[in-house]
């Protein structure tokens, strides 16, 4: 079936180090969305990528969408303790008459001060 895989599952970093999470789909995606969920909270939308090879930046966060629209990455430069949480990618897939958002399992980021 259609799957979106995320790696790594967990990542511990020292504050100030960089962090990257990768998202890979078995199917070409119409677009990809990234969400952040703080511990005890609910997913909050970060960004959406639509075009092949697209790169978007939000302050210290850089999001990329692969040329084949099957993979994506989120890179955080110089992590801070406020970056702690689980980062989910969710890919939009055309499934017949339906367009379905398939979620990855997330990457949990812990930042040591």
């Amino acid at each position: 079936g259609q799957q979106v895989m995320q790696i790594p599952q967990y990542q511990h970093v020292q504050e100030g180090e960089d962090f990257t999470t990768y998202c890979n789909s078995s199917t070409t995606l119409s677009n990809i969305q990234w969400y952040k969920q703080r511990p005890g909270g609910h997913p909050v939308f970060l960004i959406q990528l639509v075009k092949s090879g697209e790169v978007k930046k939000q302050k210290r966060l850089t999001f990329q969408f692969g040329e084949a629209k099957k993979n994506s990455s989120l890179h955080i430069t110089a992590t801070q303790t406020t970056d702690v949480g689980t980062y989910f990618c969710a890919g939009l897939i055309n499934a017949g008459n339906n367009r379905k958002l398939i979620w990855g399992l997330g990457t949990s980021l812990a930042v040591n001060p």
Partner: protein
């Protein structure tokens, strides 16, 4: 403005009982989604409404689960004959339109515990 709200925030019920979970989406959002999330897992899609109709209910695990959205705004997720495996956080999300690349706004969730 007001975000997505869900009630109750916590629900503890005994195995075999019936529960209803309510979701109030953002005003004007035509698409509404139900997910459930277990600890350490990503959101698991259950059902998606476009207006009053269920456009995709392929994620409902079995016929004990049912959801309605009679007037195209508030939605209720109903679980019959609850089982311990139903324990999870049930998340509701809404977006401006469904089947389109619109961001989803999530509610705080209802934590369901089946004892």
């Amino acid at each position: 403005g007001a975000g997505v709200s869900q009630t109750p925030s916590n629900k503890v019920t005994e195995k075999g009982k019936y529960v209803e979970l309510r979701c109030d989406p953002i005003s004007g959002h035509t698409a509404l989604y139900w997910y459930r999330q277990s600890l350490g897992q990503g959101p698991e899609f259950l059902i998606y409404f476009q207006g009053t109709g269920a456009a995709d209910d392929s994620g409902l695990p079995n016929d004990r689960f049912f959801a309605v959205r009679p007037e195209g705004s508030v939605s209720t997720l109903k679980i019959q004959r609850t089982e311990r495996g139903d324990s999870a956080v049930y998340l509701c999300a809404s977006s401006l339109a469904g089947g389109s690349p619109y961001e989803q706004y999530f509610g705080p969730g209802t934590r369901l515990t089946v004892t």
